[in-house]
Amino acid sequence: MRCIIVDDEVSARAIVLELCKTIPDLEVVAEFPNALEALKFLKHTQVDLIFLDIHMPKFTGVDFIETAKDPPKIVLTTSDKNFAIEAYGYDFVIDYLVKPITAERFQTCKARLERAFQTSKLEHVENSIAQTEDEDLYINIDRRLIKLKFGEIQLIEAQGDYIEIQTQQKRYRVHSTLKKIKEKLPESRFLQIHRSFIINFTQIIDIQDNSVLIERNVIPISRSNRPELMQRLNLL
């Protein structure tokens, strides 16, 4: 995660910078004494998060929020409690920290950030999967190019010099390798879980011990591929 700190007080920026060090994957890429400089910076640099002071001379944090197009997530920092309710009207405002920010309160903010970014990540994955629903792949069967939609493919199995592609309707045998087809498949939807199997993990019915059930097919999960599969699942 990349973030910037915007505050006209050097001491306030120093505190946020120090607190940010308690979040291991958070990198503070720049600091700004006013919101206008931050806006200019954001025109050419993308960040995931802004720690934004509200009370700044000339161009305030509120002006920034109302001006910025498609802003990243924002944590407001201020000595003024009065703006808190209004601030939560903006869906990109994750938290509202009243100065001086305590280490304990920052830990709560850290947890909120983790939740917010986790949700964004899931939404991104879901969108990527949805986008591939109608995308397709052509396979050569007896000199005929057959179109298969990614959403229809359930699994692919290596069979010597061939691969077998199982769709909801049919099983196709194609002269190719798992490595080759893997390069053509969207990562957001497909995953190799065994040296002989790639699965469309949106079609998983259940996972038990070291196997995955897709429709009536029980597919083994190799020990080395299991961690990645577990990481990709939205586990409760």
């Binding site: 050097v10 001491s11 009370h55 000595s79 003024d80 001086p100 280490a103």
Partner: protein, 107 residues
């Protein structure tokens, strides 16, 4: 007994990082005198709106230096100034003096 500034908050934030503590105190030693003189200048000019904005910044430092009572007074004084009321200015000035003395002492 009057409330005295302390470094408890700074030590809490630093988590024992002495380099940060030194750097941070240097920042306060630079920032605070400037804010204090700006505040006095604006008050003398009867620019109460601008004075309120500086009190807003100073109150953050009062919180940093553990002046809970001073912070509360600054919150009230900031609002009063916005409404043209300066009756807390002497009390606020005493707080500014104690912060200044503290900053000089730790320099």
């Amino acid at each position: 007994m009057t409330e005295q500034p302390n470094l408890d908050y700074i030590k809490e934030i630093s988590g024992g990082n002495e380099d940060f503590e030194k750097k941070f105190l240097t920042i306060i030693q630079t920032e605070f005198p400037k804010e204090k003189s700006d505040y006095i200048e604006n008050l003398e000019r009867s620019d109460l709106e601008e004075s309120a904005k500086i009190v807003h910044k100073i109150k953050h430092k009062l919180g940093i230096l553990g002046l809970t009572g001073g912070y509360k007074l600054a919150v009230k004084y900031e609002e009063d100034l916005k409404h043209g009321d300066t009756k807390l200015k002497e009390e606020f000035y005493q707080i500014l003096q104690s912060v200044e003395e503290f900053i000089l002492k730790i320099a």
